[in-house]
Symmetry: C2
Subunit: 304 residues, 2 copies
Amino acid sequence: MQAPAAANLWRSTPVGVVGLGLIGGSIALDLRRLGVTVHGLVHRPETALRALQRGLVDQVSTDPAVLQTCGLVVLALPLDGLLQPDPALVAALPPQAVVTDVGSVKAPVLARWQPLHPRFVASHPMAGTAAAGVEAGEAGLFSGRPWVATPDGHTEPQALETVHDLASALGARWLCCDAGGHDQAVALISHLPVLVSAALLQAADRASSGSEQPGSAAQLPTLVRALASSGFADTTRVGGGNPRLGTLMARCNQAAVVEALQTYSQCFSELAHQVELGRWGDLEQALHQAQQLRPPFVDPPAAD
Amino acid sequence: MQAPAAANLWRSTPVGVVGLGLIGGSIALDLRRLGVTVHGLVHRPETALRALQRGLVDQVSTDPAVLQTCGLVVLALPLDGLLQPDPALVAALPPQAVVTDVGSVKAPVLARWQPLHPRFVASHPMAGTAAAGVEAGEAGLFSGRPWVATPDGHTEPQALETVHDLASALGARWLCCDAGGHDQAVALISHLPVLVSAALLQAADRASSGSEQPGSAAQLPTLVRALASSGFADTTRVGGGNPRLGTLMARCNQAAVVEALQTYSQCFSELAHQVELGRWGDLEQALHQAQQLRPPFVDPPAAD
C-alpha cells in the first residue's frame, strides 16, 4: 500500500525512541536499517553506552533534550511509565512532532496522553519475545505482526497516517479500532491466558505437593515434573512469564480482565461439570467445538 | 545403562505391533531401523497396504495370527480399544510373549490386562504430535521422552526388563511408578491442560460474540482473531486437539481428572479474586511463584 507522500515526511528528521528495551530497541534497529536517524532517550548512562555499542541509535542521552529535532517520537515505555510520565519528558516533546506509544492497554494511555500532546496517536505493536532490556531488541520483530492504532475523534488524521507509515515501514499489519475494543480483545487473548496458565502451574505444584496418599506423596512432585511434556510447556509458557508485566497489564486493564475472567470461569465450569457428571457426549462435543474455534485465531486472515 | 543379556532376547524374534497409528507406527519404524523384524496387526486392509508401502512393517495382516511367532507384542491401541479388547486379539497372543501397551491412563489398563495375560507390563511412552493414523508414525519419536512403566507385585520382573530394554533401544527415558501415581500425574500435566486450554478458546469466542457494547459487538470477534499472538496459540494448542482423545483420557481417568479440576479451580479463583479486588502485590507475588515453578517442569532433571 502506498501511503500519501506527506506521511513519509517523518523519515527525513530524526525519530526519537524513548526507552530502548525489547520494543524500543527493535523499532530503533529497524529504523536505522531503513536509513532513518534514531535518537534514543534512556534512564541510565550504562544503557546509553550499550545502546550505542549495539548500534541501536545514532545519538542517545539521558537528557530529554535529545528529542528536540525529532519529527516523530515513539514512547516505548512500560505501562506505568506511560500512565505516570516524567514531566521533563512531556515538556521536551516538540509540539510539531507526532507522538505515539507502544502500550499493551490503550484506553487509559489515550486518556492520559491526549491532553498532554496535540499530535498523540495511541498504538500497540503486538510483538514480543521473552527477552527484556537493552540487549533484547532485534531486527524484524514486527514483520507480519499486528500494529494496532486506537484513534478517536480527537486524533489528528495526519498524525495517524504518520504512525501508519511507520508501522508499514517496519512490515507490520496495520489495524485501527477503538481503544475499548482493543482492551477487551487483549484481555481475552493476552491477559486472560497469563492467569489461566499461571493457575495451571500452581495447580500442578499444589496438587502434587499436597497429596495425601502415602504411596504417592513422596513421588508425585517428582513425577509431575518428569512427565510434563511439550503440551504442558506450551500451555504454561505465558504463565511463567514476567510477573511485573503480567500484573501491570491486569492492573491497567482491570475491568476488561475481570469480565474475561468471568466468562472463562463459566466456560471452565461447564467443562468441569461434564467430567464430574460423566457427560462424555457433551464433553466430546465441547472439545470438538474448541478444535473448530482455534484455526482462525492461529492463522488470522490478512486484515489489510 | 547395560540391560541384562536376557532382556535382549526379544530382538531375535519378531515384535508384534497392534495398531499402526502415531505411536505404533513410530515404534515400528524405530524397531526396523534397529534391524528387528516387525509384524503389524491392523483393522483395515487399506491400512495394511499403506503400512507396507511406508516400510513400517516386515509383515502385516488383519488376522491376529500374524502375532504367532512374536516374543514381544506392543498394544498400540486407543484407550477404549485397550479397555474393551477384541477377544480374537487376546486369544492370539502367544503365552510366552511379553505384552505391553502404550495407553495414557494406567490403572484401568493394568486392572483389565493383568488377568488376560501372564506377562503383561503396563507402560506409557509419552510422546506425540498432532498427527494420527498410518501416515503419522515417524522415526525417533521417543528419543529423550519419558517411557513410564507401572508394574505392581504381579508383574513378572523379566517381562518388565524386556519392556525396559525396548524403551532404551528407542532412546526413551525409563521411569517406573505405581499406576495410581502415574494417573494422578498425567491428570495434572496432560489431561487438565486440555480442558483449561479448551475453555480459553470457548471464552475468547463467547465473550467476543456475546458483547453487548454497540460499538464493539461488530468488530470484537474479528479483532480477537486478528490480534491473537503466539502466546494465545501456545496456550490453546492442546485444547484444539483431537476431541475424541481428550474425552477418552478424561473418561478413563475420571477420578484423578476431577481432583485436578478442583485444585485448578481453586488456584484460578485465587488469582481472579486478586484481580477483582485489585490486590496487585499479591498478584505479582503469585505470578512470581508461577515463574519460579515452571523451569523444573520444562527441563526436568534426568530421571535415570
